[in-house]
């Protein structure tokens, strides 16, 4: 490894990159919101470094940005797409995603809808291009 990080720091970085959905036990809304914020901060080139099973988590989907989902649709391998499609097809999961987005908006302001709009667009994008997500 060519960086100046200690082994522990490096391990933390790897966990944050590959398994953000395991950083906090995603049992309550607060933990899910934290995970969504971690995913929201990711750049395009980092999004596919999240392990495929992460895209079955509602908190991760709630953190996807427009750019990230576009990158995902263009370059994600089959197992990533299948996990995402599985989550989107599940009503409970959809409801959960919406709840996380709503909680994120509440952090900003009572009336803010930025995150909900973002999530709505992301879900619409997935629906429009569902042909590339279903195998």
């Amino acid at each position: 490894m060519n960086n100046d990080l200690s082994a522990l720091e490096e391990f933390d970085a790897q966990r944050k990159i590959q398994f953000p959905y395991l950083l906090h036990s995603a049992v309550d809304l607060l933990a899910k919101k934290k995970i969504a914020y971690v995913v929201l901060a990711k750049k395009e080139n980092e999004i596919l470094l999240v392990s495929p099973s992460g895209f079955g988590e509602s908190a991760v989907i709630a953190g996807l940005t427009e750019k990230n989902i576009e990158y995902f649709a263009k370059f994600a391998p089959r197992e990533y797409r299948e996990k995402l499609a599985e989550a989107i097809d599940n009503d409970y999961s959809l409801k959960d995603i919406w709840e996380v987005a709503k909680a994120m908006d509440e952090d900003l302001d009572g009336n803010a809808t930025r995150n909900r709009l973002r999530v709505k667009k992301v879900l619409q994008y997935i629906y429009d291009n569902q042909i590339v997500f279903h195998f």
Binding site: I17, E46, F75, P77, N129, V132
Partner: protein, 558 residues
């Protein structure tokens, strides 16, 4: 109250434990050492995080290099069309169309499916039919199809006409490699300066801690060492080989840094990957490190070390053959090549190009044996430096049928012989010495152990077959003590021993007859087991004279 506290602080608390100066009320605006170190720490973590991302990306690319990206239906679509349809801005386009056409949510959702279907089938003229079949509002079908054609389908038609430049499924070759000098590249692509080009961190002259080996830091170090401005090739060479950071570089890394600095000084052009904002270094691969050489390289290297010049030429030509290059033997005959081949390479190495050289029987030889043989060869080489080169080439060939006789001649000429196992002397008068020429001709070695190597066994068998009248070679010899490998030696050195056994048996039989049925219970082994260093004092004196002296597995037949 407030002024009182302020005066107290200014008088009695000059510096707190974190190093912040409370005396000066403006101190907060100045950057304190604490904040400096905090910023450094943040930067270090950020840089480390980026490095981890790079490394994981590289691993990810390898892992998913051949992964399926798209379903088959989508994979067949022109890549540029596919990318166009996958742009996020299509969502807004569909939204706009549905607004203009007054579509409900269901109608809106159908737009994407229609477009994908058209892109798949390439039936661009049938868009109206598709819209009619999928959108409930038939009245607005013409408007929808018109809007779709205008905003999306028209573009798809244009993109479909383009030639496909696809590297692998789903990924278009869109890497734009530019040729720019380093200074131009850094101006255009600032991120390029962060590219790490060497493995070890750098020690900058005016910075206390090691820093990343990025292009920027290398330039900083270069200017710190040699001063700003342009430098000559010699200066660069000195810097690359003698500077504190340059000394630690591997050859490949040095080549990279050299290219970079040359571009910095002489404005030479570098290959820049504009997408990734990186310099594309095309340097020769690093030569194998000493000590990590492959088995295949070992014999050639060793031989090169010891062999005279003429033989080095032979070896280099052999290496050329082994790597599939055209032969440059010149006048050398195939016999000579095969001789060199036989000697210089262990069987495993030879097996690589055994099709070229017809010596398949040697492939199964033991590696250890081959190595020992080689070491003997090299010692021969060293001891026979005075011998002519052509002669020397023949001497090393253990496979040569005349080798044994030649070796004997040489031995008689030089009574002492050096080998890797130490110096040993050879008794001229006695042919059967520790170095047995016949055995050596089979490429084997004698060991003091009772075990026989398979090749030695074969040699013994052959010699026995050649001399049927003398089944036991040791009985024939008239030297000193000989070694015998078989554990049941008494049975094999028959005449004297069998005679003794028969006599013993007859005596025993007569005694047992005398003793009657009581003595009949006693059983006798056909073998007499004699422990080492043990002499039976009670044995008859007549037999004692005939009995060979036995010590362990040594039998003295004198």
């Amino acid at each position: 109250m407030k002024t009182k506290i302020n005066s107290l602080i200014s008088d009695n608390m000059p510096v707190n434990f974190l190093g912040n100066n409370f005396k000066n009320p403006n101190a907060a605006s100045q950057q304190s050492p604490v904040f400096d170190s905090f910023e450094d720490e943040k930067q270090r973590l950020a840089e480390g995080y980026d490095d981890v991302v790079d490394e994981l990306s590289a691993k990810w690319k390898i892992e998913y290099a051949s992964a399926q990206i798209f379903p088959e239906a989508v994979a067949n679509i022109h890549p540029e069309v596919r990318n166009f349809l996958l742009e996020f801005s299509r969502v807004s386009d569909y939204d706009e169309i549905s607004k203009q056409a007054g579509l409900d949510e269901k109608g809106r959702d159908a737009l994407g499916q229609i477009v994908w279907k058209i892109a798949q089938t390439k039936k661009f003229g049938e868009i109206a039919n598709e819209v009619n079949s999928q959108v409930a509002l038939a009245s607005s079908a013409s408007l929808i199809s018109q809007l779709l054609e205008q905003k999306i389908i028209g573009k798809i038609v244009l993109l479909s006409a383009k030639p496909i430049t696809q590297s692998r499924q789903g990924e278009i070759v869109a890497k734009k490699e530019l040729k720019l000098s380093l200074s131009q590249a850094l101006l255009q692509y600032p991120k390029l300066g962060e590219q790490s080009i060497t493995s070890n961190p750098l020690k900058l002259r005016y910075f206390p801690t090691p820093v990343r080996s990025s292009i920027k830091n290398w330039i900083t170090d270069y200017h710190d060492c040699l001063g700003a401005g342009k430098h000559e090739t010699m200066d660069r060479g000195n810097y690359l080989f003698h500077s504190e950071n340059g000394k630690k570089l591997t050859p490949v890394e040095r080549q990279k840094v050299s290219l970079m600095l040359k571009s910095l000084d002489e404005e030479t052009l570098l290959d820049i990957d504009s997408d990734e904002q990186k310099i594309v270094f095309t340097v020769a691969p690093e030569a194998p490190v000493k000590g990590s050489q492959s088995v295949a390289e070992m014999p050639a290297r060793q031989t090169n070390q010891f062999a005279p010049v003429a033989r080095r030429e032979e070896l280099s030509s052999r290496q050329a053959i082994s790597f599939g290059q055209p032969s440059v033997q010149g006048a050398r005959t195939s016999e000579e090549i095969s001789q060199v081949e036989k000697v210089q390479t262990p069987p495993q190495v030879r097996s690589d190009f055994s099709n070229d050289f017809n010596n398949k029987s040697k492939q199964s030889e033991d590696v250890a044996q081959a190595r020992i043989r080689q070491s003997l060869n090299f010692s021969n080489l060293q001891s026979q430096q005075g011998v002519k080169k052509a002669e020397a080439a023949k001497v090393f060939d253990f496979e040569d049928s005349d080798y044994a006789s030649r070796l004997r001649e040489k031995i008689s000429a030089n009574s002492t012989h050096e080998s890797d196992f130490g110096t040993f002397s050879i008794n001229k008068s006695n042919e059967r010495t520790e170095v047995e020429p016949q055995k050596q001709s089979f490429g084997s070695l004698s060991f003091s152990s009772a075990q026989e190597l398979p090749v030695e066994k074969t040699a013994t068998d052959v010699s026995q077959k050649l001399e049927p009248s003398t089944p036991n070679p040791t009985m024939k010899s008239s030297g000193g003590a000989k070694t015998w490998n078989s554990p049941d030696f008494k049975r094999q050195i028959s005449p004297a021993v069998q005679l003794k056994e028969n006599q013993t048996d007859s005596i025993q039989r007569s005694v047992s007859e005398e003793q009657g049925s009581m003595a009949a219970q006693k059983s006798y082994s056909p073998y007499v087991i004699v422990p080492s260093h043990y002499q039976e004092k009670s044995s008859p004196s007549a037999d004692e004279k005939k009995d060979p002296k036995i010590q362990g597995n040594m039998v003295d037949l004198s």
